[in-house]
Symmetry: C2
Subunit: 415 residues, 2 copies
């Protein structure tokens, strides 16, 4: 496409692409805009070096003129988007990329890969945090997803309210708080469970989390409290009927005087399993597989569509394809969230800023991220985390229902 | 764990870890061992540098002794595994990592991340190739998964029989053949479809693939053949009822004399949709989302379990946890596939090599990948691709059924 457009001159046409989801997966009630920080970092590094250009030309993917253009490529356009952590709905233009056709078409794969992955994990993470009702969640999914996706997933989980991650690289790169417990292998390595517990306590102190389900849970709990005393930090249960076992272990711990020892439960938890443990005496949850795989929706199905481009006269012309089931709405769009008494009512997506309506307030949702190629939208991960908390609090209460349903806000599209 | 084991001396105990799946997801009939090549590359780069060590010590994750150990870390153990592309079944020990506890526990996340991702995509890819019945498949899922996972997915798709990928980085890094078509944006960029087609043909020649469903399919096909003549390479259909539209377009192309122009169909295809197009006049398929997300099973649920370790006397002791629903079988295992008349009958997983049985042949499945830290298992991607083709041909024919069922081979475990 780039090669043909450079040849015929249309590569220079000013173009507007928008990223949006046609629908929310799995009967979910909101999406979470996530990946912005990673996208801006990736955009800064997005260059074509000698190795890439050599591959492209030697395999006939591009001709020499296109290679020369790619060699000099620096994105020089503008990008607006929903601030990271903000909620979104079907049709919400969560990213808008403007510039020449050549420089904007080139960002399609980069933007979609990052946002489709991160938004998928974010939507699951956010619901799990709601289901946990204030109990802390540890992200533990690194081993169930691609090694680099794992780091991104840990970042997004924290953004959506997880307390920590077991992915140490996410701690190093993104500043996510890290936590971890020991594995069954550590117990099996030792001559008996007692030696394993003693070794762990000696290395990390009494305020540690001992894994108690390698052999017999009741015996392990007894040994744990005997060795660490009532100041034992926590015990972890990773198997069995978690609700039943949690009750038993809590009773046993209390009986042994370890009233402050916490219970960490793990093992194939998703938002529904977490919700079902609400009445169980768990103190925190470790979540792996279902988080990093988006709990049934491993991609956010976001698309990157050309909505307007310069015509021969230099004016900006709205465009849209007419494919059945996939037709779009042309034109650069404004996005606002309409509030009444502090509660969100609707997502307004319109060609021009919406007319004010008495008794309501409209908050613009798009913020500048890149201006003439310069990245201006960076922020600390904590800011996005706090924004997501606020964004959820503004939605109508049904938004937080776990059951399948319609999007919590209607998207009102106006030309 | 590492810190405590270094302190108490058990870090030096010889340990044997095995990677296996307790079950196959989604009623699938076989799994595909994939990721070996990537794992060996990653293992070679797996070092702890100044930035990592500084993070770990400054955040109190490890003490100075552990940091010093990590600084000098080089994996010096042995790794055996199923050759890449080989099929696997529940309990198949597709990887075996041996060495000190310290060096082997450290590889858990690296190995599981890579194999869980790559095996998940491979299982889906292999079934799609079967469903396509010889028609070529193009991998097009980059935009629906994490940006680095996309490159790995393209590699694995090719390994399992896809013809090519639209991910150019997979071409550069892994040598996967690349292919691509144009997007709707390219048509929308131009003043009309005719100009877009003319530009594409001028840039890439008549043997190109024109996307014909931006506006009206019949008109687009007419324009395409008018401009490119009967030597037009292919047209792509990305929307509508693909079976119906393919029939119509084929008729139209034939009527226009473009009998050799091929039909590429894309649009939310998975193995079932591909199978349903068997009678339609499609020449090739482009598959995206369902491939990179493992078509319903985005992780292979492989685990990394300690199965044996040195005891105080220096002997190797089989170990296994007793957790309900997750118990394992201790001991280092041999894996063979038993054949009768050239057809696989069973997966033999046993403590010692199986006794020969008259009329059957046993093929050992584990090959050496790393010896005393030296990587010896590298091979060209083509070798794994060819191996997968052969491995499938040896399975009983039911293995290739798309319907949900039991694993195609029983796993016979013997102590």
């Amino acid at each position: 496409m780039l090669r043909a457009a450079l040849r015929d001159g249309t590569a220079a046409r000013h173009s507007v692409f928008e990223v949006f989801a046609r629908r929310l997966p799995q009967g979910r009630r909101y999406g979470v805009a996530a990946g912005t920080g990673r996208f801006l970092d990736a955009l800064e590094r997005f260059r074509f070096g000698a190795s890439e250009l050599d591959f492209l030309t030697s395999h006939g993917v591009v001709d020499d003129d296109t290679a020369a253009w790619l060699h000099d490529f620096r994105f020089g356009g503008d990008i607006w988007g929903y601030a990271e952590g903000e909620c979104y709905f079907p049709g919400s233009p969560i990213l808008r990329v403007e510039g020449t056709f050549a420089e904007t078409i080139l960002l399609e794969t980069l933007a979609l890969s990052i946002f489709n992955h991160d938004c998928a994990v974010a939507a699951a993470a956010s619901r799990m945090v709601q289901a946990a009702g204030g109990r802390p969640l540890i992200e533990m999914g690194s081993r169930r997803t691609h090694e680099k996706a794992a780091v991104a997933a840990a970042r997004v989980a924290y953004l959506c309210g997880f307390a920590s991650t077991s992915n140490l690289e996410a701690g190093r790169v993104h500043g996510v708080p890290t936590a971890g417990t020991s594995a069954h292998a550590f117990t099996l390595l030792h001559d008996d469970e007692r030696q394993a517990f003693r070794s762990q306590i000696a290395a990390t102190g009494e305020d540690t989390t001992l894994l108690v389900d390698t052999y017999d849970v009741a015996e392990a709990v007894r040994t744990a409290v005997e060795l660490a005393g009532p100041r034992l930090g926590a015990v972890r249960i990773d198997s069995g009927d978690l609700r039943v076992v949690a009750e038993e272990v809590r009773r046993q711990l209390d009986g042994l005087g370890a009233r402050d020892t916490r219970l960490v439960v793990t093992g194939d938890l998703d938002e529904y399993a977490i919700a079902a443990l609400a009445a169980a005496p768990c103190d925190s949850y470790g979540v792996g597989t279902s988080l990093v795989t988006g709990s049934g929706a491993p991609t956010a199905s976001l698309v990157y569509k050309l909505v307007a481009r310069e015509d021969v006269s230099g004016a900006l012309l709205p465009v849209a394809k007419a494919s059945p089931g996939k037709s779009g709405t042309g034109g650069r769009k404004h996005a606002h969230r309409r509030f009444q008494d502090g509660v969100a009512q609707a997502e307004l997506v319109s060609a021009s800023p919406p007319a004010p309506e008495p008794g309501t307030e409209d908050r613009p949702l798009q913020v500048p991220l890149v201006a003439a190629g310069r990245i201006i939208g960076r922020e600390p991960l904590e800011a996005a985390r706090e924004r997501h908390r606020r964004a959820l609090a503004e939605l109508p209460p049904t938004a937080l229902h776990l059951t399948k349903g319609d999007p919590a806000l209607p998207t009102l599209a106006e030309r």
